[in-house]
Symmetry: C2
Subunit: 242 residues, 2 copies
DNA sequence: CGGTCGATTGACACCTTTCAATACGGGTGG
DNA sequence: CCACCCGTATTGAAAGGTGTCAATCGACCG
């Protein structure tokens, strides 16, 4: 049974901006179904022209690009509340792929209705643009991490970011957060080799900054981790959801 | 005297989608003036809440972030037609700075009118979202370059990208393009040291792939350069302008 | 029980960074 | 007109962070 938008589980989290009644009705009309997938399932492929757009309700995944030489660049990690397919919606085709890394539940929208966002619901269109700008912001930070930080700092930064989102979403219970990613995913996100990523993770473990193993991330002192990353902890902004 | 939108020089380039008459009238109302700046002038600062948004009419610049350790990450290069300040427009404040690297002419818009895009001109709002998505796409590619390519490949990629845009915009005359950037700018964009950037550039020069010096970039064989970068040359999409 | 996947480790090669020094053009003040 | 300073580009040498190669180990699974 598809979840009703009125009962959207995401609305319970206070990192998301509350939708008005009218907006909820509109999204409900827009929603064509719900999708449950297993880890490893590809949701969108680079170059594809998918008729479907998604909002992640539960579970996690990765966005990535595959290069000519076979290398993979993980663009970022997908968490509940993330909108998937914006590029396909506005530009016609995806520029990266999206794959589930844990069991996921996704809200499915019909792309052909996409334009009606702009025509009839300007607030929703604005939210969409907001999300695009937020993504641009994140990618700018990621670029700075990959470009300017050492492996140690970059990994600290990434784990910090993940934990922050996890806490905001209620996925982290008291500094402990389950994450389905592999070390290779993190390595591909930061442009590091798997081996070096592994060794750096164990260094973080030795220094009691972060402990990631058995699909579980533990961070005792977020502040210390952020220091190690050379970043400043900023409170997350409230975000809209689709 | 400020240029009239009806005579917008950008509209002459065929990389940009033609605006309808109504749209031109609307943009004209939105436009509050024109700004001419010298190289080195900061246009927007990270964290600022600028009341002004811009479209680059002439000249080039850079977007960049400054990290806690003082390092600088150049997010990308600004060319004519680029919209500057989207983040401030939708999220309230800029997440990166923008600085002119050559003399620039900018179209100035009033941010307080920003919302009217969405309320009264859904096509314009859509174009804005399109541009945000395109930027997201570009940043994804940049991330892949910095993360997965060697210095030699990354620099080839960057010069290729620059030349492609230059040609599309008519800034490149027969494989020759003036660019006001410094080697340090490119180094900061790709996460490389200045010294290594310099040496890699001279390697490109030796191999007759690209010659950048005296503020001029010469690329004889774009295909060969793209090969060196391990990228595939794709025709630029037509883009909207604001 | 063999086979696969992910995590871990050690050794070694090498791409990049850092440190230093030189060169060259443009601007400025004496 | 010349000395001097500053930003940018170049080069050489040495140090070091990361990548690559290889082997081991534990957990899960048919």
């Amino acid at each position: 049974m598809a979840t009703k938008c009125a009962n959207c589980p995401l609305q319970r989290s206070d990192v998301f901006i509350d939708l008005g009644e009218d907006e909820i009705r509109f999204m409900q009309k827009f929603k064509v179904g719900e999708l449950e997938v297993n880890p490893g399932t590809p949701l969108l492929m680079e170059g594809s022209n998918s008729p479907q757009l998604y909002t992640a309700l539960r579970g996690m995944g990765v966005r990535y690009k595959t290069l000519a030489n076979g290398n993979r660049q993980v663009i970022n990690f997908v968490f509940p509340g993330d909108f998937i397919g914006l590029q396909a919606g506005v530009m016609g085709e995806m520029q990266h792929s999206v794959e589930a890394k844990s069991p996921m539940t996704l809200c499915v929208f019909d792309r052909s209705e996409f334009w009606s966002f702009f025509k009839t619901h300007p607030e929703r269109a604005f939210d969409l643009t907001w999300m695009a700008a937020a993504e641009e912001h994140f990618l700018g930070e990621a670029l700075a991490s990959v470009g300017q930080r050492t492996a140690f700092e970059a990994i600290s930064w990434a784990l910090c970011k993940i934990m922050l989102r996890g806490q905001a979403l209620g996925l982290a219970i008291d500094r402990v957060m389950p994450i389905p990613f592999r070390q290779q995913d993190l390595a591909d996100a930061l442009g590091l080799s798997l081996v070096h990523t592994n060794k750096t993770l164990s260094k973080l473990r030795n220094r009691q900054l972060a402990n990631w193993g058995d699909e579980i991330l533990v961070v005792n002192d977020l502040g210390a981790l952020a220091d190690a990353a050379g970043m400043t902890l900023e409170p997350l902004m409230k975000r809209p959801i689709m």
